[in-house]
Amino acid sequence: MIPWSASIRVHWTTPHPAGLHATAPRTHRIRLWIPLFLVWLLLLPLVLVLFPFVALAGIFVRVNALRLYSAVWSILNSLRHTLVEVHSPAANVRVHLA
């Protein structure tokens, strides 16, 4: 199945500028939950409209448009449960496709 949602979490700290009041570094957080199924629904009409042009271009470059769409669909289906996490002293990033 294609991923239905993407969760992105980013934490990072910025050191306080020198010369000002001595306070702790500032922490910034971004948490996003993106409903990818809405993105796919929005892109679907565009894909359908572009299909004739892709098919025409495929004739010139000798690529079957249906196979191209099938391969892209396979890639989208295989992205589910992809996880990328990076933790460093200055920042944490987590991207998960569910």
């Binding site: 000798r62 992205l79 990076v86």
Partner: protein, 158 residues
């Protein structure tokens, strides 16, 4: 004591088989269970073998990197990277590679070879990939840093 073990021991006592042969026969009767107690609890420990049945086809490719301050130059602690990629992505990538026209394979192979990557695109086929993925289940790459460098890299499939 069951009959099989008894007959093996009788053959050993009669001198019909050697001790090594008897040991192999007894081991075949009683396969060792998979070890689990020695595994460390953290994510960088070696993955234990499945307790029963044959190994399943791996579902994910994992890359774990732990780099200390001396490697990254960042003060405040180690940097860790954890990547999990589904194996289905490899299969989908093979299908994408199959779209390349055969006439372009030679040129692409030469370009890859020129850059030090000896790949033959025409040999990337789904049946070859399945065999590769099955063998990837046994793959574990451990890289430890030298001397005081505590950088660790692990690549494995699960």
């Amino acid at each position: 004591m069951n009959d099989d073990r008894k007959s093996i021991l009788e053959m050993l006592a009669a001198g019909k088989i050697t001790t090594d042969e008897a040991e192999r026969l007894l081991a075949a009767l009683n396969p060792k269970p998979a070890s689990s107690a020695a595994d460390a609890p953290d994510a960088y420990a070696s993955p234990s073998a499945p307790a029963s049945g044959k190994a399943k086809s791996p579902k994910y490719l994992r890359v774990l990197v732990e780099a200390d301050e001396s490697t990254t130059g960042l003060r405040g602690g180690p940097t860790t990277v954890n990547v999990r990629v589904p194996m289905q992505l490899l299969r989908a990538g093979v299908r994408l590679a199959g779209l390349i026209p055969p006439q372009a394979h030679d040129q692409l192979d030469q370009a890859f070879s020129k850059h030090g990557v000896p790949i033959t695109l025409s040999q990337i086929k789904p049946e070859n990939l399945e065999e590769l993925i099955d063998h990837l289940g046994d793959l574990t790459v451990d890289v430890d840093g030298k001397d005081d460098n505590k950088t660790r890299v692990r690549v494995f499939c699960e």
